[in-house]
Subunit: 114 residues, 2 copies
């Protein structure tokens, strides 16, 4: 299956792309940074840094953490965080729809195997 | 200015994204791999490898080289190569149009500075 990915580059080398969105979704699904890191096969440290980067992008937090801190505490998305995910995925869906013909053209000219 | 980028991942870890497309455009514009590499600030070797990767994706070549070989010879896009660029850029344009509202929402919530 061909996959299309969107990356958004804001001014000042600030970026929103599939990695940050997948992390937000995994936090929403697992309820913790630890769970999200595990689900995505990354270290807790990497997930934490990526989440901090995402929170630093916006004036409104995308996530909130419950008590327990670095080890036991849960994490969840704020409604703003959920909206970011929804909007990113809807951009992707619109892209898939509008690119369908072009993707099919490329697929038809792909070398076999790969 | 916010920029949106599309990456296309085909089966078998084969990828078409902004790097390969920019290279094809630069070859079209400069008429050689050397010129394209210079325009993109990459080594000749890197440009050559990237072009080989792009040619290996498809059953039809995206570029052709004139006599002169590695050093002096010119390079140009085939009509198939030109079509790849056109289709990729039209996918991007459609994305920009459909994502406009969501991008504006994200920009409105961006932290100042950055």
């Amino acid at each position: 299956m061909t996959r299309l990915t969107v990356r958004i580059d804001f001014e000042g080398s600030r970026r929103l792309g599939p990695g940050k969105i997948a992390l937000l979704e995994a936090i929403g699904a697992t309820g913790s940074i630890t769970g999200a890191a595990k689900a995505l096969g990354m270290s807790y440290r990497r997930a934490w840094v990526l989440l901090e980067e995402t929170n630093a992008l916006f004036t409104t937090p995308v996530s909130e953490t419950a008590q327990g801190g670095r080890q036991g505490g849960g994490a969840s998305l704020t409604s703003f965080g959920e909206e970011i995910v929804t909007r990113y995925r809807s951009v992707e869906t619109a892209l898939l729809r509008s690119a369908q013909g072009d993707v099919r053209f490329l697929e038809q000219h792909l070398r076999a195997g790969g």
